[in-house]
Symmetry: C4
Subunit: 272 residues, 4 copies
């Protein structure tokens, strides 16, 4: 095989494996997406006792097929990538590696069945596939909105953690062991369960004073839940706005999408 | 009966059955709405043991009256429709059919009482009636907002499903059978119950590590609940906006509120 | 007492009782607010068994003092009002009457202690007092936002009721009596508890199929909770906007509150 | 030591202790932040029975180190402050004092372990440290949004309290002692647990009428949760907006985005 034809092969593989603007590339992505979904399904089903009893050999065979496929795919990615090491240490590169490594480890170590869970991260690969489609733009808007909100969210989380620690300590003193508030960490766990409105009910206040404090925490939590929602709404509105076309003459955002004239200066944006 | 008079009869029935801009049409819709509500009430009450014991014969009679009425109505719709087959295979046409079919099936098959539930879809017919009123516009705004959000919501749901699967698998390893985390699907069910802040408490973590992981999941869920709210708020604001002032020249909605030029035809709306 | 002096007395009482722009009027409102709060506190405490055992005579005395005070106040309102009947049949007039009627009924009928609960509506009178203060404007913005959202909310509630009925019926068939889904109304109650994310856990699915359906309902409920929030946010933003000052020259809303020049046409709004 | 050199020392301490724009100041803040976190961790761990059994002497030593450090720090702050009394009675001054006082009290009074919880307020000091960084701006936006919403939130909370009291009283009458609704306060506690969608399930309705009322409360709560979210979203959008473009002539924020004239001084910002 000559160097040019080898180069051409690598380029062809690259186009199929990394991109999705050709028929073959789209097919590859679709097959991979299904393999990921099926491999997770097989791990999930293996954990069901009644299923494991009846179909364990079939699950094992299926898992080795998935492992082989993912190993082969990883090899092709490393081979065809222009900068292999950059791919290997990228976020998706590491996830691709973790998608099949635990399966090989399970041969050497009997207890490696616990590591199988890492394989669930394969699901995240779906995003890489989606990244190549129109979902990318929407994902970027969401990411941009969350990034712009990060300081507000840190301030918010610090307040929540402080509140939960103080209320947790107070409840530990008020309620005590009888009600299930056996330690401050346990009380903090209860306070988080309450403030997030999850409310399992595995621990709940039994004394009048504890119930009053719990009621105050719930009403506060009620108001607090409004804050992250407000933050994300505002940033999402801004990120959506910023992704909009602007008038080349006056820089006013163009409304609605695909408008023919600028609403501020009347400049014609596209021919009728 | 001559052909023209038959044609006139079909047109009259069409106006009463399909439209609601005449007195008779509005009365028909109102009677139908009440029949639907009463028929669902009768199915619901039949399921209550104490009620079934005392009033079963009355319920049965009532149900057959409803079934006859809905069958008759379906016949009238097919007869009067200009394109009968198009109606039969439309969304509302199928719901109209499913509204009485299970009742007839229950004569042939003893176990058909399970199919009676399909009759609950009759409630959706309320929307068709509402569609003819001023609710239509509001419903369209909601529908448009949800449609515009669909890609963002798919990205969001994929993230949630990935998160729930990974956390579910981790909790299965950490907690194990004693705490009720008997399989990964069971753990995923618990993770969904937790992240959506429902929190039944039928399964809840018992180990310190499990409680820490659950706390992290709750706080994440707390932040995540903000995302769909933000998405729908932003799109709803846009959809509401789009239903505003229209250009007197080309009927395009005017953006933004108080814009000086129409964004579609460039007509000056207000003097500078 | 002459007619003019009687008229003057009625006017003075009116100013004190119905308005709060004088010292005496404000004092009257404040005393009334405290009487309402104390009377509700006494009803609430009476229901606590340990408290009733020790302090019943005191509570009874206190309640008769409150009843006398509210009766007297009602008399003054009817006497001083310009259109007594209009007051009597107004919303607040009826609440004022219901604030003391049950107390008198409890003399005639032994079981009238059940009617005492109506007295809790006295709390709503707080709004009438607040209405006369700066809270009025904020309350009107909230009311306007909710009123503008009413059709959207009706469409939304109809969807939720339909969904809850259909899911309730399905869960009744899938889960059955063993899991606590004893009838369709019971299942609908469970579906409401789930979709609103309350999640008591008194009834929860036990079968795999039931858990899958419950998971779907929870995720849907997750998305659905976004809709009313979005609706209210949008309308609240609009109502807040509409309560803003507009430029007399170009009708553009004035930003920010108390701005000196219009941001659109530069017209001077207030002297520097 | 001369007066000028003492003055210079005080100024140097002030710069390190109160400010964070020097290397030493930033290091001081960082060390303090870690001391606060470690001291809270030690209080939290002391409450865990298994941990207390094994490591109590070490915890005690650690706590005395923290107490000494915080006492020293308090002394330095009082010594270096230009207006010592103003600092002592400020919010953070009081929290600094409460951070070590309970530890000394525990020598005199055996039961002072209950007062140790006040030490958890030390976590709030994190905000003072954060205040000196870029988080300050975000915190101010959140604070400004919450402040602007305060009347709306009071109106909202009054409505919730009225609703919860009336529903609580009704449920007490309907359900009674058997279902756990032992008094009106207990029923109000249940109503708060329900309306905030926490839903522990320690108390839940058992009668059909009670379940219907509970369902109504949940659906209302569903709509009500939208109100504070909407309020905060709207105010947050306004507060975020206010932190935007400023007029080059008078430094007033420019409204709305892209406005042509400054709303304060009338300066033309962009050509028409």
């Amino acid at each position: 095989m000559k160097k040019t034809s080898r180069h051409r092969l690598r380029t062809r593989i690259y186009v199929i494996v990394f991109r999705s603007d050709t028929r073959a590339g789209r097919l590859f992505d679709l097959v991979l997406l299904w393999l990921i979904i099926l491999s997770i399904l097989s791990v999930v089903l293996e954990s069901v006792a009644s299923f494991r009893a009846g179909y364990l050999p079939y699950i094992r065979v299926a898992e080795w097929i998935f492992t082989t496929a993912f190993t082969l795919e990883y090899g092709l990615r490393v081979y065809s990538s222009h900068r292999p090491w950059r791919y290997v240490f990228s976020f998706y590169g590491l996830i691709d590696l973790l998608a099949f490594i635990p399966a090989y480890l399970s041969i050497l170590f009997a207890g490696a069945q616990y590591l199988v869970v890492i394989r669930a991260f394969r699901l995240l690969r779906v995003f890489r596939i989606l990244k190549l489609t129109r979902f990318s733009n929407e994902g970027n808007i969401l990411k941009s909105a969350l990034k712009a909100s990060r300081y507000k969210i840190i301030v918010f989380l610090t307040t929540v953690i402080t509140l939960v620690t103080i209320i947790g300590a107070l409840m530990y003193i008020i309620e005590g062991d009888e009600s299930g508030f056996t330690s401050i960490p346990m009380s903090i766990y209860w306070a988080i369960v309450t403030i997030t409105t999850v409310g399992y009910g595995d621990v709940s206040p039994q004394t009048p004073l504890g119930r009053i404090l719990a009621s105050i925490l719930m009403v506060i939590g009620y108001g607090i839940i409004a804050v992250p929602t407000g933050i994300v709404s505002v940033e999402l509105a801004r990120a959506t706005d910023e992704a909009k076309e602007k008038c080349p003459a006056c820089q006013t955002p163009v409304y609605p999408r695909g408008a023919r004239f600028c609403s501020n200066c009347g400049k014609e944006l596209r021919a009728g």
